[in-house]
Symmetry: D2
Subunit: 456 residues, 4 copies
Amino acid sequence: MSSSQATGIKIAYIGGGSRYWAHELMSDLALCPEIKGHLALYDINLDAALTNVKIAQDIFSRPESKTKFTVSAEKKAEGALKGADFVVCSIEPGPTEMRYSDLEIPAKYGIVQPVGDSSGPGGIMRALRSVPVKMDYARLVMKHCPNAWVINYTNPMTLCTSAFYAAEPKIKAFGCCHEVFGTQRFLAHKLKEWGKGDNIDRRDIALDISGVNHFTFASEAKWKGFDILNKLSEWVKDDAIFSDRTKTSLQRKKKGEWFEADAMVALDFLRRFGALGAAGDRHLVEFVPWYLRSEKELHRWGVLCTPYSWRLERSRQKSSTTKYSKSILNPSGEEGVTQILALLGKARLDTNVNLPNRGQIANLPIGAIVETNAQFRHDSIIPIVAKPLPPGLSEAVRRIVSVQRMTLDAASTRSKNLAFEAILSDPLVCISTDKAWKMFNEMLSHTKKCLPGWKI
Amino acid sequence: MSSSQATGIKIAYIGGGSRYWAHELMSDLALCPEIKGHLALYDINLDAALTNVKIAQDIFSRPESKTKFTVSAEKKAEGALKGADFVVCSIEPGPTEMRYSDLEIPAKYGIVQPVGDSSGPGGIMRALRSVPVKMDYARLVMKHCPNAWVINYTNPMTLCTSAFYAAEPKIKAFGCCHEVFGTQRFLAHKLKEWGKGDNIDRRDIALDISGVNHFTFASEAKWKGFDILNKLSEWVKDDAIFSDRTKTSLQRKKKGEWFEADAMVALDFLRRFGALGAAGDRHLVEFVPWYLRSEKELHRWGVLCTPYSWRLERSRQKSSTTKYSKSILNPSGEEGVTQILALLGKARLDTNVNLPNRGQIANLPIGAIVETNAQFRHDSIIPIVAKPLPPGLSEAVRRIVSVQRMTLDAASTRSKNLAFEAILSDPLVCISTDKAWKMFNEMLSHTKKCLPGWKI
Amino acid sequence: MSSSQATGIKIAYIGGGSRYWAHELMSDLALCPEIKGHLALYDINLDAALTNVKIAQDIFSRPESKTKFTVSAEKKAEGALKGADFVVCSIEPGPTEMRYSDLEIPAKYGIVQPVGDSSGPGGIMRALRSVPVKMDYARLVMKHCPNAWVINYTNPMTLCTSAFYAAEPKIKAFGCCHEVFGTQRFLAHKLKEWGKGDNIDRRDIALDISGVNHFTFASEAKWKGFDILNKLSEWVKDDAIFSDRTKTSLQRKKKGEWFEADAMVALDFLRRFGALGAAGDRHLVEFVPWYLRSEKELHRWGVLCTPYSWRLERSRQKSSTTKYSKSILNPSGEEGVTQILALLGKARLDTNVNLPNRGQIANLPIGAIVETNAQFRHDSIIPIVAKPLPPGLSEAVRRIVSVQRMTLDAASTRSKNLAFEAILSDPLVCISTDKAWKMFNEMLSHTKKCLPGWKI
Amino acid sequence: MSSSQATGIKIAYIGGGSRYWAHELMSDLALCPEIKGHLALYDINLDAALTNVKIAQDIFSRPESKTKFTVSAEKKAEGALKGADFVVCSIEPGPTEMRYSDLEIPAKYGIVQPVGDSSGPGGIMRALRSVPVKMDYARLVMKHCPNAWVINYTNPMTLCTSAFYAAEPKIKAFGCCHEVFGTQRFLAHKLKEWGKGDNIDRRDIALDISGVNHFTFASEAKWKGFDILNKLSEWVKDDAIFSDRTKTSLQRKKKGEWFEADAMVALDFLRRFGALGAAGDRHLVEFVPWYLRSEKELHRWGVLCTPYSWRLERSRQKSSTTKYSKSILNPSGEEGVTQILALLGKARLDTNVNLPNRGQIANLPIGAIVETNAQFRHDSIIPIVAKPLPPGLSEAVRRIVSVQRMTLDAASTRSKNLAFEAILSDPLVCISTDKAWKMFNEMLSHTKKCLPGWKI
């Protein structure tokens, strides 16, 4: 690692009008003395980007800010991308109203999804809208900044990252997700319960991560030589841990605590298969047919469905107000800026990341986007070979990879037939082919303005 | 092909006390002038075998019999196997009462299966009982007649054939099933409807077969250059073909016509995925989660569940009476004897067969037992490379292969955990892990006397 | 098979000015009553094509001719291809003088090759010239007759066929070579020696063929149930069979019998590895480093190097005179027309053919062009799974496949570096990297007018 | 990492009578305050082990020693292994006289090898002797200390490590080789030449390592963000670097400087293929057919053949005298003890290591022993995915893996035929099959007392 400050770093932010992620990134940058440069925001909503420019000026002029980035809002994506060293990509394919297709229509057919952004009919439909957009950006990147690292923050994480590579195999893109951090925090909490220490840093808990985004597993978990998974495997033999959570769930529902859960599903995977779920339960349930037979079943595991109505409401609030408040700058807990530092040779980072499979998960196809640990080093990200998952989980992940492949191909060729093969192949789709066909057509019909070029 | 008669051929029949298959085989042998030799019957029910010896004597002394086989009933399997050229294997793992575990217990948990012998909780449980038995026979074969061809007739076909190879990789075993003939007959019937001819021989309809037993697909179907699948693909666009069959189903149920169906599921695969199901609908529905949500849903597709009570009744009748009647000998329509002839170099036969994958289905693991076409030639069976299936079906087959692998490993290592991973991974198991665990334990408990060596 | 005559069949012949192949094809067509239609000849040498038109008119008007084809010479390839049902492709990349690069330059560096058209520095260089030409034709075919079957007759067989698929993955091309027939004839001769019969038809000898063109092996050889390979394997244990053939070779050289050989190398493969070489020795020696250390070593095995001077002479004779003589029409012994008949549903043919690997050789990459047996049926060619080769031969074939892959990529991207990696990786190149580099540059320099677009 | 001292660590040293490696290990242990325990030496020469016990007592009682290990010499391997945490394996298969077979006999047939311990006829023959011995030790390890880490130091490194896994797939064995350190030192030297710094630590030079032991390549080389390989690739374009070294070689020969070389071959790989050889030139030349046509050719590249006579002489000296001198303890530069520390959770180490392929080199077979970087962590070694090599090198490595597989199978089944297939498949064997067969038989005959159970 070199110790001098890296200057002249250009970061392009596609979706730079966003409230949440953009502010987090700007704060983290401001707290990072090792680099200096320019942040170019691009958003289809130029006003939102301009508002963020003002916020940025405030952030970088704070006394606690340790570096200086100039910030601009660009009218065209090209302006932001030209000569960029890093491209942050954080964009939605269409307005939140489109999520009605993803969530409310399947629910009518008995397929409820707490999130619906990565898998299931909801995730697939969202991917059909997203993939072509990402493919276009991939081409722009290779035209305007072919050496840039592209950091994708958008869901469906796997398919968005796949789309970049489908369009431009030589792009340097990766997908970044904080979901595993939650598992580390959960384990830090268990270590505390077990009397191992009060303030254990999540980063000291080494997980061997394997899977696809939001459906990842820890096949090993250690803290300073202590085998956490071993202890946890003993612990989960107690059936009491898995007692019915319906009551808790209903209370949470009343309070609107949509994102609360108790890792019961993550632990159930450990109990039944031998590896710990390493994403939130809300996500994990969406990749297998066992927990989502009904909202009632979901409640039994302590998980809620975030209502579409709430999502819509929140999105309307977000566009009118701003999350940004003038409190003191704090690290966001996200790793984006640390990753940038590591890629600039200013830090060494070993963390989980979404990348094309080059062998890190040996039984999955080469090129499929998978999530494992990797070494972030100077201008390179080198995956670490994941420990093989137990057979049942290995197969469960393989199925998702296969559905995602069909979805990618359907999206990029605009094939309705293949998209329907993907829908039927999704583990959540346990309804008759007739009903599924009807559901699929309703979904397409509702979301069609975001599916240009499709014959629907 | 050589034209002289092959003499001194020894055929061992394991399960030689059976009424149905043994009689068919003996009749077919009697009608086959090309070979001559000895048939050695072995059955755990020696009396049943002795009864068949008498029947055999009658058969081979009929005027229409064209050859002579001596027939014996052996007290030990070794006696039958010693020096055999062919071993026919047709045995049940345990009494029909065991099928209560396979069918009635899952049904209580909402998992109904029309057959339950190949996949689903029923098929898996049946495999757990069968695999060790077949592995023992494999070892006996390699000891007493290592050069013999072993023809397996028992279900679960795939896992029984797998068991032979798992125990003895050099064994020359294959699985023989007539299910595809039904598809050929169905297509002959369609050809007649289309005015192509009245008495089209099913053997003139060339199907490109790919899949695993009972879950096979025809990705091509031709008759003298006429592209049947093409025409059929147009035809299935008419939704009227797929109208609700509940009324028909209920009538069939009343009459006890358990095995009737209309190929609606086979055709639905063609409509939704682009390849024709090439097994009976009763089987096809058991490998995917779409048609079996309930008995009602099944009826909608014209398929019935054979009741356990009927199965029990029939098995009791079979043991007390005999199907064999003194009518004139007729070819059974089965291919067993033709296969034997071809392997002796007395005929050339291209037909479908269950064999270890050597490349015939390129995206499936080498060694998995798959069903494709093959050339039966002198002392060799050479698989023909199958046309790749459409992505959705290729994936559906791949899933079954994976569940079967877990089942095989669970059965051969007596691993309860792995068996449960197989159960959860089966496409029919769309119930919660808790309920599945309870169901699985009930099944094991009921069938445990046929699971020697298991810790249940 | 349908029995009526197929009419209106259009066959395009690219390279239709050739003396040898075109005449054979026309004679064979004339003797084939099952089909009727038009033969369109295209050649960069239009005069040669016009001469062939005249010869054709003679052939088809002979009394022994059993059908009628109209024949035309086309000024543009497009004219020949438009609407064709079959495309025969038989063209040289550049004049015979180019072969100086392939043969004489490597010889200076100690690398002698009897043929130099498939492998070794000669074969690679020839492929670099051929691949782009074939890729262009592939695009024309897909434009003008996308449903046509393309029969490639040109060497390097594997790389020419590969080039078709590299440019147009959906093309229906295959490579056709008679080399295996020679092996069958050799075995018929052995059968005669062993008293098995005097006029054994080569087609009754069933070989299990595996490899790449000119480097194929028979891992099984049977004649009416008689295991030829078994007997042959015993026979080759006699070292006397492999005694020094230098004297014979020198006599042959004197007489100019360049194509004579005694299958010693084919048999040496059987002796050393357990499978019989199934191509002429002149070809077999060119894929491994053992027989070609010098012309002297080659003579020890009874094989000659065809001199470049003789090749040049012959090519000059061929352009001025014509092989075609007015003798009675006889079947050529080639299978091209039988293949056409089978693809039209007028015959069934199982023979060896060069096709993309779809699993027929399981341990080779999917898509690599390999030679195995296949079933020619109505509008389809279905490969038969080859028996695995012994480890040493399997590896030897895999090496060639790998060199051919590099050559294909080098040719299609015009990459000098990659072409040199291919050269160094060729088993015949056992000289220092420095000398190889020098040789390679000389070869490129001499042949550069046939390498448009290359930076040399 | 935990910070307390690890006590009670038992290290078994198989081959513990060795002079060189045992002394290095003991010195390194003595300098390592983090661990404490017992070192159990086993050697077929008990006296040598007893001598080492005395030396050990001296070492651990020195004032500069920072820890205390008790040391014993065991009469049986079992005594050393029982309860061991680590097993160091450093044994020769047979006396140095056996190397006559490996080196002198092939030389008579024109195959000269500078080292002959990893590949070529010499390496294969050495492997045939070594594999069964290692397999026996693997079984002992799994019986007496199944949780121990086994560190193999013996050549042929790849095949010895393979043998452990062939006998016991669950063993925790890895192969440890310092060859890559030399490449790092060479690059540190180049960095100095380029003015980047005078005392660059080899461990700060990050290489992306890929290959098999002694035939490894760096496809990336960086020092604090500086791209060494980039610069080096430019540099090697100067042909002067590769001028003839015959004169230097002859001078070295005269002085007996057998191990000197100039990385010309390592650099030639960079020049011709695009990745830097990451082992000594003496090793690199033995895996390809280009540099070893003769001793003269070898000299041209600055490499010498270590004479068999010198090897014999040295081995005799070693047995009579001892290398160990009473100078102050110094770190050996080897990584064995650091690896032990890391596996105990006392350090973090990323280094190159020989392990079964789990995906770290995606195009090589799973399970083949390969050399790449890996993370040494608490009780685990996790491979890092290697960057794909350029096609030519990837293929060259693939060939070696294949030859090694044949050798392993030949050694473990004592198959002379398969061993000869391995010999013929070795890239150094460019002689006729007849001569190779004669050579092979001479080699076998000479070394047969170390090939128990073989039919020779």
